[in-house]
């Protein structure tokens, strides 16, 4: 079982308490009316599908019920760091530091 650190509970908790919630740091366009269909489709459907470090949202559904962000390596499936919603996207160096 994978243990995931919830930044709100500040604890390592079992994976079964969590639910994955897609790629992180995708903000809704301020004014969707001004977007072309292609741009809107890009916002809705197009994701990075990164090989390597991927920024993603998780929710501690059976815990504190909060959404938070995680950086995970999609090759090794190792969760490198987790951080609260609203905090800036960490750099590769910060992730490497946190994963130590």
């Amino acid at each position: 079982m994978i243990l995931i650190r919830c930044p709100y509970c500040d604890e390592q908790r079992p994976e079964v308490e969590f639910v994955y919630a897609g790629e992180a740091h995708i903000s809704r366009p301020q004014n969707p009316n001004l977007l072309s269909d292609d741009e809107w489709a890009e916002y809705l459907f197009i994701r990075k599908n990164a090989r390597g470090v991927h920024y993603e949202r998780w929710v501690h559904a059976h815990g504190c019920a909060r959404y938070f962000n995680a950086a995970r390596n999609t090759v090794t499936d190792k969760i490198l760091m987790t951080y609260k919603t609203g905090e800036p996207k960490p750099s590769v160096e910060e992730i490497a530091e946190a994963a130590k």
Binding site: M1, Y8, C9, D10, E11, R13, P14, V16, E17, H62, G63, C64, A65, R66
Partner: protein, 192 residues
């Protein structure tokens, strides 16, 4: 539910029958159905917590996982803005009136969830072992000390767990999950 006609006499069928194997046939572990309780889900922003704590004279825990116990009222901090208040049925009426009054002065929300949950008390030397048949948390005293509470899972049911003593746990879960939970416990006790 009508907003002003609340009776203090909430009586419902909690819908759970405990098998003798759980209720003390063994001295090592026993499961007791807690009688009916008044419960509130209290949502308050951290910035308003102190004001609400003072005005209500309830000792609202600040940290996730912390709990407080005053006379018959347990307060569990389950999330950054979420507290679960459990009291006996008689004080439930008083709490409800107080929350209604305070809600005009302080920004917070309260929802009466008395009938949503049922609670069990699981105690005995094997209580941890029994809980760990379905709950993946580390329940050793160092990781889960007395007074700590959390929402977690027991097999496929979501439970709220509070450690009240080294060998005593208080478990709340949705009423509709209770027969499932009880049957799993029964099986675990029998098959040890």
């Amino acid at each position: 539910m009508s907003s002003n006609q609340h009776s203090n006499e909430l009586t419902i069928d909690q819908g759970v029958v405990l098998a003798p194997v759980l209720t003390g046939a063994s001295h090592e572990v026993s499961v007791v159905l807690v009688p009916e309780r008044a419960r509130f889900s209290l949502r308050v922003k951290p910035s308003n917590l102190k004001a609400l704590s003072e005005a209500s004279e309830l000792d609202l825990p600040e940290k996730i996982g912390a709990s407080t116990l005053a006379s018959s009222t347990k307060i569990l901090c389950l999330g950054p803005d979420e507290r679960l208040v459990v009291s006996d049925v008689t004080s439930g009426g008083t709490l409800r009136r107080m929350f209604a009054e305070l809600s005009s002065q302080i920004s917070f929300s309260y929802a009466d969830i008395s009938h949503r949950n049922v609670a069990f008390e699981i105690s005995g030397a094997r209580a941890v072992k029994l809980l760990n048949t379905g709950c993946p948390l580390d329940l050793c005293l160092r990781a889960f000390p007395v007074g700590k509470c959390t929402r977690t899972v027991f097999e496929h049911a979501e439970i709220t767990l509070l450690r009240e003593g080294e060998y005593r746990f208080y478990v709340e879960l949705w009423r509709s999950f209770a027969p499932y939970f009880v049957r799993l416990l029964e099986k675990a006790v029998k098959s040890r």
